[in-house]
């Protein structure tokens, strides 16, 4: 994974500072401001950077309220990054682990947490080593590191709580801020969100918070970029070396496809993206160009979605399976003329019907995909494809539930 060098700004997430000395030189010490973090986070409008974009101050307040009632609380740094297109959390943890840990400490101070936990996907040696080294440097034995299976839903906050408690890691309907790890009120935040909190604690709520995006697909310089809010998507794509984009996936696999013409007019801020029917999500962006077959990508990711299901909720288990089979049928050109209509109908049918947002993600990805690539889908159904399979979108096999 490569990093794009961009001009430095006042507050920077990815200034390489894996060791404590450099970290302190770049960022300075993060003051312990306790519960004052909550109004500061509210004023700075810090939002969850794991995908949901939920206002962080509200989460902090909910967990802090539990602590005020003399109940022990827990904070969890979610660095699992199960979204295959996204690399920002891995980058952040390898380059600026101390910033994340500062944020974890700040959040713990704000909610009176007695346990601090960092979660990372197992098998990622670089990230594991960076986190371990940073913790050793800080001389802080109180932070626990929990490794999680390589699975998309493992990073969902209720599933993560279940994993920490020794479960299989299936999502539940219990809100962590009410009943989380060990039954205690738990704050689960993405590592980038925690890094943002560290910056707010250090610089105050007026700090310009940068965002991290990952660009992949048909680009010559894939990788993580640090951008300012409101950055034009066209600039991001240009920096990544996108060649003749046909359509852009905004928000990772749980995001939506946008035709290139629309995409090139978008800015990376909530309002602009909402107008295009999409959002930042985890900041993962993928480009499909003119020469690459998009339908095969849709089919592969559809299958990945189906296999990522925890198998708890009927609409998700069966619906994502049927959507994957239908997308596969479109790609293969087998006699299934109703397949695109089926995909649209099932997308609408599964939205909001699961314990987590996996079916919503699949619905958005496939629903928008079958529309944006309608022409190409029709070609496939007629038995033709004039483009090559470029293997643009990664589809790692989800680790099976035990």
């Amino acid at each position: 994974m490569t990093l794009i060098d961009i001009p430095r700004t006042v507050a920077q997430l990815l200034a390489p500072a894996p060791d404590l000395a450099t970290h302190l030189a770049v960022h300075g010490p993060t003051p312990a401001i306790g519960t004052a973090l909550i109004p500061a986070a509210h004023a700075a409008d810090v939002r969850g950077r794991g995908g949901a974009g939920f206002p962080t101050a509200r989460k902090l307040a909910a967990v802090a309220a539990a602590a005020a009632g003399r109940r022990a609380t827990v904070v969890v740094a979610n660095g699992t990054e199960g979204e295959p297109l996204s690399g920002k959390d891995k980058a952040l943890l390898t380059l600026s682990p101390h910033l994340v840990l500062d944020g974890l400490d700040a959040a713990a101070g704000a909610v009176g947490a007695t346990r601090r936990i960092v979660c990372i996907e197992r098998g990622n040696r670089a990230v594991g080593a960076a986190v371990a080294a940073a913790l050793a440097e800080r001389g802080d034995p109180g932070v626990e590191v929990v490794t999680t299976p390589r699975r998309y839903v493992a990073g969902q906050e209720t599933a993560l709580v279940d994993l920490i408690d020794g479960g299989a890691g299936r999502p539940t309907l219990r809100r962590p801020s009410e009943r989380g790890v060990g039954g205690r009120a738990t704050l689960v935040d993405n590592v980038e969100t925690l890094a943002h909190l560290a910056l707010v604690a250090r610089h105050g709520p007026e700090v310009a918070l940068p965002a991290l995006v990952t660009v992949g697909g048909a680009v010559t310089r894939p990788g993580v970029q640090e951008v300012a809010t409101g950055e034009p998507l066209a600039a991001v794509l240009d920096r990544a070396g996108a060649r003749r984009p046909r359509a852009v996936l905004v928000g990772g696999y749980s995001g939506r496809w946008v035709p290139a013409a629309t995409a090139l007019r978008l800015r990376l801020d909530p309002a602009s993206l909402a107008a295009a029917g999409t959002g930042m999500g985890c900041g993962a962006i993928a480009v499909v160009d003119d020469d690459s077959c998009a339908v095969v990508e849709l089919a592969r990711v559809a299958e990945w979605f189906a296999r990522s299901s925890a198998g708890q909720c009927g609409a998700c288990t069966w619906g994502l399976r049927d959507m994957a089979d239908a997308t596969g049928a479109v790609h293969a050109g087998t006699r299934a003329p109703a397949a695109p209509a089926d995909i649209r109908r099932w997308a609408a049918m599964v939205r909001g019907r699961g314990a987590c947002k996996l079916p919503d993600g699949a619905a958005g990805f496939l629903g928008s995909g079958i529309d944006v690539f309608a022409e190409e889908a029709a070609e496939h159904q007629a038995g033709r494809c004039r483009r090559a399979d470029a293997g643009l979108l990664p589809v790692p096999t989800p680790e099976a539930f035990r």
Binding site: T172, L173, Q312, C313, G314, A315, C316, W318, G319, D322, R345, W346, M349, R353, G354, A355
Partner: protein
């Protein structure tokens, strides 16, 4: 006295009894699982909603009482 119906998607096993007993508020999707209309229920329909919730073999259909 009103109530709203909610289905727990994890507990739900797709028996489909709820849709039989309360078609006004519950329809089945293509896989036999209930799509529950969350609108408030009152009057005569409330008794049927109670029956439907009691009939659920998995106790996944729940009637939330409220004053609206």
């Amino acid at each position: 006295m009103t109530g709203r119906l909610r289905v727990d998607p994890i507990d739900c096993a797709g028996h489909g009894i709820c849709a039989e007993l309360l078609p006004e508020r519950v329809t089945l999707d293509d896989w036999g699982y209930p799509i529950v209309d969350g609108r408030p229920i009152d009057g005569e329909l409330l008794a049927h909603a109670k029956r439907a919730a009691a009939a659920c073999p998995a106790l996944a259909l729940r009637l939330e009482r409220g004053r609206e």
